[in-house]
Amino acid sequence: MRGALVESRLTHGQARQHGRMIDATDARDERLVRACDEAVDDARDTVAALGDARVRVVVRATREDGNETVQTTITVAIGGLSVVTTPADALHDHELLRTLAASKPIEKIRSLPIVWQNGSASVLLHEAVGHASEHGAAPVPWPSWLSVDVPLAPRRETFRDVPLPRMTHLVAWQLGAPFALPDERIDVQLIAGGAYDPVTDVVTINVAVSTAGPFTIQRTRSQIAASLSCAAGEPVRYPGLICSREGQELYVASHAPVMITDPLI
């Protein structure tokens, strides 16, 4: 926090699955621990440049069925807002966060079309398409110009956890979508969080930063699908999405073009 080390945690372990039983211990794998140490060292210079923020670096080195991966995520928080980024994008996203933290709402919250900037539509689709898919929800009609690549794979946060079918990433594209920027609109720049309730089919999105300030959207998937009216450009990387389900937090890289929905407030 502001350049001082506040917390440091090392966790390691091994899980072996036999049918429907998993045996997990905190066994140490030197190779993976070394990979973590090296990734943390690599992230230090980046973190040092984010001196005005609260920064949390998480390195996960895993080996599953012979496949080794090392993933570094950096959560940067300023003034109650946060982004989740990678070492490659941390400086850019930190600057974006500083800008957003200093911004003020320029209009009142009211029923206006919403322009989803900075790839933030990917969070809407993460809940309405991704989580709905995890729960095997019935399909709803999405616009024909929209494609969403959101594969599911068994994932777990730690060796103590049961693997669940989870999103590995989400990339949304538009092909031939209409686009007309409304004169009166709310521009959404950063999302605080979201949720999908499989019992009610309701998606909740908590907007952290917009031209109308923070607000909450609660609509069914069908209503959200019907509200998607326009999109433009290539998918934009959203600065961070930590997905929490069943208490397991996982990073899901998320991209979406600028999209417009009809009023959802």
């Binding site: 917390e7 090392l10 966790t11 039983m21 905190d26 066994a27």
Partner: protein, 300 residues
């Protein structure tokens, strides 16, 4: 100043159709404002845990035989967890199980020259009868309460205004209690040791900083908290009043969304539980809400 805390633990957990056995040991230190945690290393680089742990024995002076004996006494077995899960799955046929997590564990703690052992049992079940979902958390393998709630959920009708008076079942009252700190006369129930090895003494809960520390795991920085809250009995609970048997959503401040039973009628309602009219003097039951909360019937 350095604060060192060590924990050896073993847990068996049923979750999402899988049974998982976890053994681990870890250490937390706090020095000059920096909190660090890491697994406790053993020479063989194997899991350091109860019961078959050389380093545990070396560091605590407790023999393997003593530890194994203790483990046997805790009845910690996969069969026991599986048995409860199987019975639960059979008992909630009127509605659907959305989530069922059952665990049993033991942990050995050591800090500030004190060592102690704790056992725990936890059940979390989420039952649905769309559009309703009940949430049940308890610290015992008590099927009866789950069956009662499942049967009520299966008969649930439409939303109604909250009845007055309304009784809160012990499980509902326990979930509410942490939100009533400073609003309702309650005490911290004494017994056992806190996250820093200090005795938990019976104390009136006040707005002063709590005397004890809550440490739910070795990787979590301990915080001051009132432990094992218990509302002090007063007034008379009208046993004929409708009963809120379960939560339909997590407690939000003092707002409760609950499943109510009034004779043959079962319905969801949302109620502001700021004003408590009576607290039963019955023997309380401990629930795993916040840093521990004892539930007895309360009346609004």
């Amino acid at each position: 100043m350095t604060d060192v805390y060590r924990k050896w633990g073993r847990v068996i957990r049923y979750e999402n159709g899988m049974t998982i056995r976890v053994e681990e040991a870890g250490e937390a230190t706090e020095r000059d404002g920096t909190f660090r945690t890491a697994p406790i290393e053993s020479p063989a680089q194997t899991g350091v845990s109860v019961p078959h742990v050389d380093s545990f024995v070396a560091q605590t002076g407790v023999s393997v035989a003593q530890v194994e004996d203790f483990v046997a006494q805790t009845l910690l077995s996969v069969q026991q967890v599986d048995s409860f899960v199987a019975q639960t799955l059979l008992s909630v046929r009127p509605c659907t199980i959305e989530r069922l997590i059952v665990s049993a564990g033991i942990a050995r703690h050591e800090t500030n020259g004190v060592s102690w052992t704790e056992e725990s049992r936890r059940v979390h079940i989420s039952l649905t009868n769309p559009p309703l979902r009940v949430l049940v958390d308890q610290a015992s393998f008590d099927l009866a309460s789950i069956e009662t709630i499942a049967n009520a959920l299966g008969r649930a009708g439409h939303e109604r205004k909250p009845p007055s008076p309304l009784r809160l079942a012990p499980n509902v009252a326990a979930a509410l209690l942490p939100s009533l700190t400073g609003e309702l006369a309650m005490e911290q129930s004494g017994g056992g040791l806190d996250g820093k090895g200090q005795p938990i003494e019976t104390r009136a809960v006040t707005s002063d900083p709590p005397p004890n520390w809550y440490r739910p795991g070795y990787t979590v920085r301990p915080i001051r908290a009132w432990l094992n809250l218990r509302a002090l009995p007063f007034g008379r609970v009208d046993k004929s009043a409708p009963l809120a048997v379960a939560l339909l959503a997590p407690v939000d401040g003092t707002m409760l969304r609950v499943l109510c039973v009034d004779g043959e009628d079962v319905f969801p309602a949302t109620v502001d539980a700021t004003r408590i009219a009576a607290v039963s003097g019955d023997a309380p039951v401990w629930y795993p809400y916040a840093a521990g909360s004892f539930g007895v019937e309360m009346m609004l």
